[in-house]
Subunit: 425 residues, 2 copies
């Protein structure tokens, strides 16, 4: 048996980042940029008004109230083609360019217009620069707007669009093929024939891949047939960056998956027994012709999902150029006793993690810790890492891998401190 | 000005769940099921072996070692067409059906085969039921496998596939159109003309929608032209479940967006001033002909994103049938002073939240809290809720809306307690 970390490292080391591609902004969402992007335009691109009001020369407002001649009106998107001379003002809308000569804006609420808008009274003295957003205040030309290694968020796409960058060089999302193997898998839609089971894994694994925003190909099911398996894998390698199979990797399984993968990988496929439970068996290697990584996950539905989380997900993130590969691990108080025996393995218990009113992490197991019990996985949003030994008692701190954070609190409605005090009492 | 909660409730109340549709499993990922799904098949569907070994009658193994006649071999997916008589055993692989007459499995490691597999020595007494997974042990017919209101996770899709359910009745993801408005927005790709700015909002908002897994239509940019705006909105309403616009909702803005939306909504559009900063202006209403909700978000890039988070996202989740509408809010220690003046508004500060080694929440602001500073939003993974008053001091607990949880810890690599002690010392 090899240790979890060693197995993870073995897999990740053989999954270098995919080469960079120029992608349109929306396709680059959640991708990693390999090189920093530097501003070629300043933000704001011109000095503009932060308020609706009047652009003025602040010196003119000394001893306010003062009356100024209004020489024009500037909407957002327009420019005034003359500078303000002393004694002049211009009506200006939020975001419109401050005209030459002006150095401040007086908000509309502190003015009175006269003569059908041809003159205005500024009621109080305006400070130089008031309600004016200077060109380049937020971003100057040459500033790094997104540094190498950044994962492009919706806000980053806005920042790039603001620079006129509508296509960006990124490590693309990996394209992942998902295949199930085994004669026991029933491909029909009618009632199950005797001895057959339905294919849960492909659906779970396709969804896990899609949830990451990656591209996916459903490679279907292949029975225990050498030639079909060989052909399906070879075809998949021509379009996919990586292939995930499930089934056929346990010690006692039919040799078929092993024979084919050993052969296609030029004997580089490694058949591991990882010191964890569930998800002990794991195969990993690169197809010889294409270099395509193949993750051979266990056939057990829960084992397949846990193995995806521990091995395939971080390695595929590495292919996507991510620097942070793993789920967050947090210490949480277990609210239940966690019993186990010493067996040389790290146990991963399906669990629900939640936050108490003070932000403290709590965790409890979901029912059914057998590796084939998919129901408990569907109720889980976390995995408890229970190291080899005699377990933990209720109240102990345990390490928890957080798989999803959407449902950490029962209701995260935006509340003010006032609301909170009322609901907590 | 109206309070945040009231504005949220006003918007959400007008966004009832979309009618249920039968969708293929993969399209139903992260959708909400309206009715519970009940098992029509038991899991496991037949009593099967948990190990590679020999299926036996446990009574035969009393006084082991004993020698038994091997009457066949059962691979996963196969069935043995005869029952075990006393004194008989059958070779069996993991997952294969336990034959009639057998009530236990002896693992292969505790057996010796003879006569080219025609007989086997069982070395130790086997308990009744040992390594046997009983039919229906995990799921019985009639059990609820996914209850009403469940958000379908990858594991749920596996659970449903296991039941032969490949299409499921769900509230579909909303289809959202995103439109930017304003003559100041430059639609070309060359250098910016004077007074024009680039459209960041549409890219950020499209990405925010896509990140939720929802369907999106890019409705582009409409300048300040009554007829174009009217037509674009009407066309969009025929394909979209909801429309998000940005720009044109501030008090001083050109009346155009307001005139058109007021008209198309049959005067039901409500133009709000919400007691928050940023994102004070908000328009919301339903188009009269189609009932399509329209979210009129502010034009400021940061305000648009914050407004999406506070109003559009929870309302669109409500349309998707979600019961939990809001982001989690956690109490976190602020590591910096948070200064503000009393202005009757709840302030939302862009911030980075992180977990310390003990799972405690910490938060600090990202630079630049002006509403047009998109850069600070791109560095943020949280919003601090700073209620009206004089702010907070470093060390105080503040409420924080957690926007993303992927990067809460610097490196969430799966570590054992042993590793942890080494890295923390």
């Amino acid at each position: 048996m090899i240790q979890l970390r060693e197995a993870q490292q073995f897999v990740i080391n053989q999954c270098p980042p995919l080469g960079q591609l120029a992608l349109p902004l929306q396709e680059a969402l959640d991708c990693v940029i390999g090189d920093s992007v530097v501003a070629t335009e300043s933000i704001p691109p011109f000095t503009n008004s932060a308020m609706d009001g009047y652009a003025v020369r602040s010196a003119d407002t000394v001893g306010a109230p003062v009356r100024l001649a209004v020489i024009g009106s500037i909407m957002a998107g327009q420019v005034l083609n003359e500078d303000l001379a002393p004694g002049q003002a211009a009506r200006i809308m939020t975001g419109a360019p401050v005209p030459g000569g002006a150095d401040a804006v007086c908000m509309i609420e502190e003015t009175d217009d006269h003569d059908e808008g041809r003159s205005v009274t500024i009621r109080r003295e305006v400070r130089r620069g008031e309600f004016v957003r200077q060109q380049g205040r937020d971003v100057g030309i040459g500033d790094v707007v997104a540094s190498a290694g950044t994962v492009l968020s919706p806000a980053h796409l806005g920042v790039l669009a603001n620079q006129g960058v509508l296509s960006v060089l990124v490590h693309p999302h990996p394209h992942v093929g998902v295949l199930s193997t085994g004669d026991e898998l029933y491909t029909g839609t009618g009632p199950l024939p005797p001895g057959k089971i339905r294919d849960a894994n492909r659906h779970s694994l396709l969804a896990l891949v899609r949830r990451e925003g990656w591209n996916v190909t459903d490679l279907g099911i292949v029975g225990d047939d050498d030639e079909s398996l060989r052909q399906r894998l070879t075809t998949a390698a021509s379009t996919c960056d990586a292939i995930i199979t499930s089934g056929g990797v346990s010690v006692g399984d039919l040799d078929l998956v092993r024979v084919v993968l050993d052969d296609l990988s030029g004997r580089t496929m490694r058949w591991m027994q990882v010191a964890i439970r569930p998800a002990k068996p794991l195969a990993f290697g690169l197809l010889a012709d294409s270099g395509t990584p193949v993750f051979g996950l266990p056939g057990n539905p829960v084992s397949a999902m846990v193995s995806f989380e521990l091995f395939a997900r971080p390695a595929l993130r590495a292919m996507g150029g991510h620097r942070s590969l793993h789920r967050p691990v947090v210490p949480a108080v277990t609210d239940v006793n966690l019993e186990r025996r010493r067996d040389g393995k790290l146990h991963l218990l399906r669990a629900r993690v939640s936050l108490d009113n003070r932000g403290g992490w709590h965790v409890e197991t979901t029912d059914g810790q057998e590796s084939h019990h998919l129901q408990s996985m569907s109720e889980a949003n976390a995995l408890i890492l229970l190291p080899d030994g005699s377990g933990a008692r209720a109240g102990d701190l345990v390490d928890v891998v957080v798989l999803g954070a959407n449902d950490l609190t029962r209701d995260g409605a935006v509340v003010t401190e006032h609301d909170r005090q009322m609901t907590m009492s």
